[in-house]
Amino acid sequence: MDKFWVVFKNEYSQVVQKKSFIVGILLTPILMGSFILLPSYFARKTASNTEYLAVVDQSASKIGEGFVSSLEQYKLEDDQTQQYIVDTLITIHRGDTAEYNRIIDSLKTALNNDEIKYIMIFKSGVEMADSNMLLISNAEGIRTVNRFEKEISKIASTLRLENSNVNLSVDSVLALTRRVTLPQQDAKGESVDFGTKWFASMMFVMVIYFIIIGYGQVIMRSVIEEKSSRIMEVLVSSVTPFQLMLGKILGLGGATLTQLFIWIALGLLVYAGSGALAMNIDPAVAHVAFNPLVLVFFALFLIFGYIMFSTLFALVGSLVNSDKEAQNYIFPVTMLLVLPFIIGISIIQEPNSNMARYMSMIPLFTPTLMMMRVIFIAPSATHYSFFSGILGEATLAFILLVLTTLLIIWVSARIFRVGILMYGKRPTLAEIVKWVRY
């Protein structure tokens, strides 16, 4: 056991001393923050460039003019300049097909030369069928398309109203037919929307994912280094392969925990600071993220998920001779980590479905999928039991995770023991199975 601590201490101090560790501590929260904030920042930001468009109007009711004037409300970020400038508004008589084709062709040339971005074509009867209009573009913006749809809808509705017996303005009709939004509340009386839960689950699961994949590869590389530099021979004549493997995994794990503690401390500092600045954290976020069950299972799933996967990464390291060779072996391990994100999409839609239950019980997926479910279900539950409900399921999944981790360590240690002294050729699957049995 003494030797285990020697390896542990060395791995820990080698990582913690590194400049990259300190840089990582500071940089990761900044990167995470930018991941969260930048997209919404860009989404909110108004366009900065004027876009030119051509409108071709074949309709009798002069929809084109109405459409063009409705676009005047959209301004660039300076609130002065028009975002959409109508380069040409062409009115053609319905029957003149030759003229129509000639104009469309020339507009398409202009489109391909980037002189205009959109060609909007109205035929007669836009209010009757959507097929009576067409938007042509090589690079349409989703926001622009939504705006056009909104404005054209208004115009079409006005036309439909004019043709009907209803004597009301468009705006009052829209107000009368407004869709409802269903207010939600959980059993505890908190109103936590789906978005908040989704956001929180992504945050927690991403932290688990990045720590596992980041440090897992560090362990793998360090095993490969010891193999390729032949230090391994001295190591295995001093410690048992099992002590070596576990010392490496837990030593690095200790470094990871140190990093997490520093982040939590930094987070608390920021939290305290923001309190002083009277910037309150969204109560819905606090309700989900600061739930004790969420935090406890986060710690458990992170630690055991890390141990389980870094054992697999150490195993890969012991089977190969170079980083390059490792890429082939690493693929299945990475897939095991990425797969839950794909499955996760359906799980968060129906966190209590049978499929969600079974999938999150598979130990390899537990750290990510069960974490998602805990975040989605636990904060709102009013009754907790170790034998049923989310607490029972998460506890069972945790026990399975621990057992599987021990099994993986046992199997890996047996392969590791032989693999670390194999140079040159890569072992076949049959050989690996033999090593486990031997």
């Binding site: 390896v7 080698q14 530099s229 021979e233 001295v234 004549s237 001093s238 410690v239 048992t240 002294l421």
Partner: protein, 310 residues
């Protein structure tokens, strides 16, 4: 006996690497395992170190089969060298010593004296990757013996070292021996073993061909060789009566004599043909004995060179 190998055998697939090898290493001696490349020296040492398990046979150290306690009592320098490139010399030495069960406080005090001995003291806080190959080898030697093991096992210690460093290593080994340590080392350069060892074991193609005290071995094979240094073409020597074999060392010839041959008459016949600068009756070198006993093709074995390593 301190370290005993009992009929150890190791095969790789169908190739026999070591065939029922037995040897006994007394305490406090310098013991050399010699043999050409591929003879099974490294495999034998790896089995002693328990890095690979023998197919059959066992290794006994200090009266007991080797177990976990053995690893802390031995210092091992593998044939293929390597250390953590990104660690400093101090860190590497300390880590390796602690892995061998040495207390950090004790290890720390020994670092500087050893580095000074090896001429590496200026590098103590530099990274291993900054060292030259020869320096790295000396550093690895330091990591091998810093925990003051009772038995030191060195696989091809001298390979890649310049003559000055070979001399340095030899002196350190002799000191260690005087301090009561047992040293087992392998080499394919027989001259080194001849100059340094008390005991040797010759292996060829995985089998032991000869072992024992070096003096006894030489005495057994008698003074049946002549070294002669001549001016001119010595090709006729081979056909002289009483000469069974000739090794041409460029600067001199070494003659193996047939039984009952008369050195005096051989000298007379040579003087008649060429000028003789030196004529000496010598013990046969280990190289010659090896070629003779192992019945191997001389081209398989590294020939000793004039003025080779120290």
């Amino acid at each position: 006996m301190y370290l005993v190998l009992e009929n150890i055998r190791k095969t790789y697939d169908t190739k026999v690497a070591v065939e029922s090898l037995s040897l006994s290493v007394p305490k406090g001696v310098l013991y050399g395992i010699i043999g050409p490349n591929g003879a099974g020296k490294t495999t034998t040492i790896r089995m002693i170190m328990n890095i690979i398990a023998p197919d059959s046979g066992q290794v006994i150290f200090d009266g007991k089969p080797v177990d976990k306690t053995f690893v802390d009592r031995v210092g091992y320098l593998p044939e293929e060298r390597g250390l953590y490139k990104k660690m400093t010399l101090r860190e590497v030495i300390l880590y390796m010593a602690e892995l061998k069960g040495c207390k950090p406080a004790a290890a720390k005090g020994r670092i500087m004296p050893w580095l000074e001995r090896m001429g590496l003291e200026a590098y103590v806080d530099k990274k291993v990757e900054e060292l030259s190959k020869g320096m790295a080898q000396k550093l690895q030697f330091v990591t091998t013996i810093l925990h003051e093991p009772e038995i030191i096992i060195l696989d091809e210690l001298f390979s890649g070292l310049d003559p000055l460093n070979v001399e340095l290593m030899k002196n350190v080994l002799l000191e260690q021996k005087r301090a009561g340590k047992t040293i087992l080392f392998s080499t394919h350069v027989m001259e080194q073993a001849e100059k340094l060892c008390d005991f040797i074991c010759m292996i060829s193609r995985g089998k032991k061909v000869l072992d024992g005290k070096i003096g006894d071995i030489k005495a057994k094979f008698g003074k049946n060789a002549i070294q002669v240094e001549i001016e001119g073409d010595g090709s006729f020597i081979r056909s002289l009566p009483g000469v069974s074999a000739v090794t041409d060392y460029n600067n001199y010839h070494e003659l193996r004599l047939a039984a009952n041959a008369n050195p005096h008459s051989i000298l007379k016949q040579i003087i008649e043909r060429v000028t003789v600068r030196r004529f000496e009756l010598v013990e046969p070198s280990l190289y010659d004995i090896f070629i003779d006993i192992a019945k191997v093709d001389p081209s398989e074995v590294e020939k000793p060179k004039e003025a080779a390593n120290g």
